[in-house]
């Protein structure tokens, strides 16, 4: 909700904070306290559902955004959803959940930082971040285009199943999807798996839509682009290298390292039991996943690539009215499910401000007027009583006579009664 708006900041800040460090704090917190979560499987289910839903939900918004940085912002949210989903699968795969999710966190940091920096490079050169005004940038910025394509491939998780050839995202994201499948077999609950596959499909569509809209085709506005200087392209290349090979090189080592860490820092926990729920036993019990399942993430990614290719590169299919504000679904997505209207306008401005207005104009005024009223009554009573003191002797004399006669009558009456 807040992340896309925070993209107003400079692109390098986005790359650091929104891709790599700050936003992942939540994932880290769950990972750190994972033994607590695993002791309460219901809370893990909540984590899994929230994660899976976030991955899908953010993905649907990512496919309609026109601002290059906003696409990446929604992509970040979607990938964070994957990490949460990975953690939530702990009830099926035990401590491996922390491994796959933190591994995705690290890989994601590489390719998402790369995506942001590439976007920054484009914006720096062209001067706009609206993809409708871009197009054909690849011709003038070959290095940026190449590195960003690598990052996109990593994000979409391209690789060859069953081998150790693939981009970073392949090793971490597909591991999460695979784990979701295991979870489905384990508990007969296929929702996380369906969410994760659908989100993978959307991921592929929106990221290649971004690539094709930005780098291919004819320029759609008058811009004077140029390749960025070496000080910008060299970091891009380094990150691209990481995005390409980091996952494949370190996957096994990282998982083992994390297991050891947990075994060392949670001495009192029954690590054997926790790991016992782990993947290996499950795999042994149910046999390896069918080949189809291993290939499915790649197939969906390719399908997404194909769709983006047909629509945004070949431009054979014209979306026309489908992608206009007349289409209610498009409008819903473009307006981000009316989150702004619901949170800011309805909840903050409506309910919270309404309560404050009530407190300010009714309660506070009421409390204060009780106090003020007491003062006014006191002063008023004094004002009224003051009139008795007229200073006219005749009035006093009359009052005295009236009082005395009243007394006499009263005394008489009392005497008679007694």
């Amino acid at each position: 909700m807040w992340l896309p708006d925070a993209m107003e900041g400079p692109t390098t800040v986005s790359a650091l904070i929104h891709a790599a460090t700050m936003v992942t704090a939540g994932v880290y917190l769950v990972a750190r306290t994972f033994p607590m979560f695993i002791a309460a499987p219901d809370s893990l289910m909540v984590v899994a559902y929230v994660g899976g839903f976030t991955a899908l939900f953010a993905g649907t918004m990512g496919i309609v955004m026109n601002d290059i940085k906003r696409v990446l912002a929604f992509s970040t949210i979607s990938q964070l959803g994957y990490m949460m989903l990975g953690l939530g699968l702990g009830s099926a795969i035990g401590l491996d959940a922390v491994g796959i999710s933190l591994f995705h966190l690290i890989n994601h940091a590489f390719f998402k930082a790369l995506l942001f920096l590439c976007a920054g490079s484009v914006i720096h050169a062209v001067g706009t971040q609206d993809m409708r005004e871009l197009g054909g940038v690849g011709k003038v910025m070959p290095i940026t285009a190449a590195t960003m394509t690598i990052a996109a491939l990593a994000l979409a998780g391209f690789g060859i199943p069953g081998t150790s050839i693939g981009t970073s995202g392949f090793f971490s994201k597909d591991a999460i999807i695979e784990a979701a499948y295991l979870f489905g077999e384990h508990s007969n609950n296929w929702i996380p798996y369906i969410f994760s596959i659908a989100a993978a499909f959307l991921t592929s569509i929106y990221i290649f839509r971004l690539i094709f809209m930005t780098f291919t085709g004819k320029p759609r506005s008058n811009y004077h682009g140029h390749e960025s200087p070496a000080i910008m392209t060299i970091p891009l290349s380094i990150l691209a290298l990481f995005a390409l090979v980091f996952g494949g090189l370190t996957q096994t080592g990282f998982m083992d390292f994390l297991k050891e860490t947990f075994a060392n820092s949670f001495v009192n926990l029954d690590i054997g039991r926790l790991a016992g729920i782990g993947r290996n036993e499950l795999v042994e019990a149910t046999g390896h996943e069918p080949l189809f399942i291993l290939w499915l993430p790649l197939i969906t990614a390719l399908a997404g690539l194909a769709i983006a290719f047909v629509i945004y590169y070949l431009r054979i299919v014209q979306l026309g009215p489908l992608a206009s504000m007349k289409n209610p679904i498009y409008r819903l997505l473009y307006k981000r499910y009316y989150q702004h209207e619901i949170y800011t306008e309805f909840f903050s401005l409506g309910i919270v401000y309404g309560i404050i207005a009530f407190l300010m104009q009714v309660v506070d005024v009421l409390i204060d007027s009780i106090v003020e009223a007491m003062a006014i009554i006191t002063v008023g009573a004094g004002e009224e009583l003051r009139r008795i003191q007229t200073g006219v002797v005749q009035t006093y004399a009359t009052a005295v006579i009236a009082g005395v006669s009243l007394l006499i009558i009263l005394v008489k009456l009392i005497m008679e009664v007694l």
Binding site: V352, I355, I356, L359, M360, D364, I367, V371, E372
Partner: protein
């Protein structure tokens, strides 16, 4: 050893009397500053000779005053009063420095009243006899009344009378409670006494529960109205806002309501007829004040009024922490008093500087002041961050202690208070952003930054906020010693 407790009252009082007879602004301010420095020196002497490992009274003095009534002049300092005396002694000299260069009519009376106020407030903190306590309690009204009435804003007459009468009526209710306690105890023991500690100890032997409840409620009413808490707060926004800067700071240093809570009400609480009900009442008032003050602060247009409501919100923590009745929650409440005094002094000084230098306090009429007033902005930012509870500054420690440790007994009320934390962060940052950052509002013309004396005095207080935020132990330890004593009383009775 010096009779510090008496000297702490006498020195500012004598200097105040002399200050009233000075002729020029420089003489008045200089003499006032000198007086407050001597007081600070005495306080530091007391602080350095203070033993924070005991809850007993130190620097104890007692002289017979009216034997037939059992009224004695009894004073002493312990871990409840020491930090508050320290707070007063530290802030007042810098308050005088801060207002040194301001032009105003009758400076002799202005500085004289500041010192009178100091004497009266310290008098409340040190006195251990209800009669002496009540005299100083009422004496605090007079300087504040004139502060607002003479040097206040447009609606100063209304604000000053309202404050005076409101809290005076509350004090009279408290006086009734004191008399009730006095007579009930006289009946029990056959010996009249006004000694606070003796009467508080005697409280449990008073016959019926309802009578004890009535005494407790009428005494605490005086404290709650002075603190203030919702719904007895309606004098606060007017008085705090209309007062001159020095007056607002003096209001902030008027920590006698919370002090009374710790000194008198909390030890009595477990012995009331229905302690659970009383705790519930304090919990409701505390947590609701926190939320209510924060919500109203969010929508204030006037910077000073916003700070006033923020103050109401912060005072809620004092009540909530007291109601928590765990040693550390009570310490948190005491520390909140200390921390709030420092932080709010910075905030009111900042708001005052903005008012005098730009001519307005309306947040929307300001904007971009950071460009013209960089020094003020830096100090003010620290004050605002401390006020919203940024870790590393004093506000955080107080609120953290209160919330964490009250949770044991009052989880529901802590949840209400937690709601307010978001809003608290919101109104502080939002006000700061609108008033100090962004595009400079050219209508304000050429605005000067604060003068060097103001920078110095505010910076010293800001540094103290930073210091006690990292290392609260110099005052927190003595508070905890005493709060443990208070709580053990409650624990013994199984409350």
């Amino acid at each position: 050893m010096l009779p510090v407790a008496s000297l702490l009252i006498l020195v500012p009082l004598i200097f105040a009397a002399v200050t009233f007879f000075t002729k020029t602004k420089e003489q008045a301010a200089g003499l006032g500053f000198l007086g407050s420095l001597v007081t600070l020196g005495l306080t530091l002497y007391a602080y350095l000779n203070f033993d924070s490992s005991t809850a007993a009274m130190q620097f104890f003095e007692s002289t017979t005053w009216i034997p037939s009534l059992g009224a004695n002049y009894t004073v002493g300092i312990d871990g409840i009063s020491m930090p508050l005396i320290l707070l007063n002694a530290i802030v007042i000299p810098f308050l005088i420095l801060y207002s040194w260069k301001e032009d105003r009519e009758a400076p002799n009376r202005f500085y004289g009243l500041i010192l009178t106020m100091q004497a009266a407030v310290i008098g409340v903190f040190v006195s251990l006899d209800f009669l002496v306590f009540y005299i100083f309690w009422e004496l605090t009204l007079i300087p504040l009344f004139f502060m607002v009435n003479i040097w206040g804003g447009e609606k100063r007459a209304h604000a000053s009378y309202k404050f005076f009468i409101y809290t005076h009526v509350a004090s009279l209710v408290m006086l009734l409670g004191i008399f009730g306690l006095f007579y009930a105890s006289w009946q029990q023991t056959g010996v009249p006494t006004f000694d606070i500690r003796q009467l508080v100890a005697q409280f449990q032997f008073i016959g019926s529960g309802p009578v004890r409840d009535a005494i407790f409620l009428s005494i605490i009413f005086g404290f709650l109205a002075k603190l203030p808490t919702f719904p007895f707060h309606s004098w606060l926004p007017d008085a705090y806002t209309e007062a001159p800067t020095a007056g607002s700071v003096l209001f902030i240093l008027l920590k006698i309501g919370g002090y009374g809570l710790f000194r008198i009400s909390l030890p009595m609480l477990p012995n009331t007829g229905s302690p659970d009900l009383m705790i519930m009442m304090l919990g409701i008032l505390g947590s609701f004040s926190i939320l209510y003050g924060a919500l109203l602060a969010l929508r204030q247009k006037d910077l000073k009024r916003m700070i006033a409501y923020s103050s109401l919100s912060h005072m809620g923590y004092v009540v909530l922490g007291s109601a928590g009745l765990v040693a550390l929650s009570v310490s948190g409440a005491m520390f909140q008093q200390f921390s709030h005094g420092l932080i709010m002094s910075i905030l009111f000084m900042s708001a005052g500087a903005i008012q005098t230098n730009t001519g307005t306090r309306i947040i929307n009429n300001l904007g971009g002041l950071a460009k013209k007033m960089p020094k003020l902005t830096m100090i003010m930012m620290l004050g605002f961050m401390a006020s919203l509870g940024l870790p590393g500054l004093t506000g955080f420690i107080a609120e953290f202690l209160v919330l964490t440790f009250s949770f044991a007994n009052l989880p529901g009320f802590v949840l209400i208070a937690l709601l307010a934390i978001v809003i608290t962060a919101g109104y502080h940052l939002w006000a700061m952003q609108r008033a100090m950052f962004g595009v400079y509002n050219e209508k304000l013309g050429d605005v000067r930054d604060i003068n060097s004396l103001q920078v110095f005095s505010m910076a010293v207080i800001a540094l103290l906020v930073l210091y006690f935020g990292w290392n609260p132990n110099p005052v927190l330890n003595m508070m905890t010693t005493n709060s443990e004593a208070i709580v053990s009383l409650a624990a013994a009775l199984g409350v």
